[in-house]
Symmetry: C2
Subunit: 293 residues, 2 copies
Amino acid sequence: MTEEQFIESLTTGWKTKNAQLVGVGDDCAVVRASGSGFGSALLLKADAVVEGVHFLRTADPMLIGRKALARAVSDVAAMGGVPRYALVTLGLPSGFQPVRIQKIYKGITALAKEWKIELLGGETTRTRDLVLSISLVGECSGYDPVLRSTAKEGDEIWVSGFLGNTQTVKHFTFEPRVREGKWLAEKKIASSMMDLSDGLGLDLPRLARASGLSFELALDQIPCAKGATLKQAFREGEDYELLWTVSPEKKEWRKKFPFATKIQKIGVMKKRSFKIAESVKELLHGYDHLQKR
Amino acid sequence: MTEEQFIESLTTGWKTKNAQLVGVGDDCAVVRASGSGFGSALLLKADAVVEGVHFLRTADPMLIGRKALARAVSDVAAMGGVPRYALVTLGLPSGFQPVRIQKIYKGITALAKEWKIELLGGETTRTRDLVLSISLVGECSGYDPVLRSTAKEGDEIWVSGFLGNTQTVKHFTFEPRVREGKWLAEKKIASSMMDLSDGLGLDLPRLARASGLSFELALDQIPCAKGATLKQAFREGEDYELLWTVSPEKKEWRKKFPFATKIQKIGVMKKRSFKIAESVKELLHGYDHLQKR
């Protein structure tokens, strides 16, 4: 059993039997309301960043705070949701620098303001390493969230932005694709969607597995970031771009896409039995999500 | 500036202007729905336990998992809510023992089952110390949550259970007062409420401060647990009992209280200018919540 399989095994008893809910295995959990109080679906996301794992002690504290919240926002965006409310749990090592912690909170507060997220509190506890744990509630108001398990054979595979070369700056400064994700969900364009946090090479196989399918990629169509090799575009992780599928019957949507964000068709979803080309297989596997910076 | 004041200062910019919301400073954040989809109010709580701070490495792993979730459930109960959905973020040190982690998750799962909480997933990350961070969503369906800031002068002060002697077993095995809290909220008995996590000596002053009041206590009425001194009953913390206030005009409620749980009147809320007796003052101050086990 690999470590990832072990982690997955911990929550296997958690499969919800409630058809109104989406539990383990997607970008967010989904709680559907029968009435209209919160629209049709609430998205719940919990995510933590840890010093020495997700950021270095020397990193700009404003960017550390920004990243902590932005990662969770990206997961809400990945289902087409709009982020609404957040709680912050701070794990504080002894001997912390007050000014640094204040700047981290400024980074959180600034991003929350940008996306009109209400920061509703949180808790503080002692830890050995600085930990920022975010609980985020998002909403799909009047439309359904897009899952990663609903791609269909023959659907086109699309990505936003450019992939790779994330580790110097972009893993801190990425813009969560909230508007793009909402548009793709609300207009019912995307048949499945997720965000790329562990790299296309790990995340696309996850989407395919969740949908019970395989895939074919056009490697010359992968939008590599400046300075990134194809391998880095697949494996580096922390792109926080959207990955989604679209039925080939939807034809006009590309022209109507109202954002300047680059989007690119990179392949097609195939039957589960479809054999992935060796040249693609080599590029798969992101890093283990426990090793992630 | 004390450490607690510093922590409070981090979130001072987070005062919500939305009257539909309750943010920083209560047991949970409250999000009110205008419609009926989720009843009238959702309660949001994030809470973390850390090895070496909230439990020792040698503790029974089932009880560690139980405690992680039960603490958050107690905060939902403290507003009269019913716990509904939870996410678990696991911070995993390298070289962890798989069987121990599985038992921790069994402890979480067992308590969730007991309270009919849907476990909807979570994230895993690397940490140096084992961290369990819980995001819990609760609900007050058709009635208002009870805040800690709404006690009135002259209200009686009540507590559930027995206080103190928590550190050997009770900090692991306490029963969150969900039924009692819901009854006190739904029947509109409690004018204010919170749970005792840091000890009566720290938490009652918090409730009084939030309500802009002072208080008078009958020290001979404090329900000390077997083996606990009065000082321990005030200062030990981790009782996870309810503390609430009731208008003296509500007379019949005590007879109608439908639970076997001991409840006890311990004092009266007074004007802010009321001078607390020296004998009581000595017993105040819990430990700093950053030092909490």
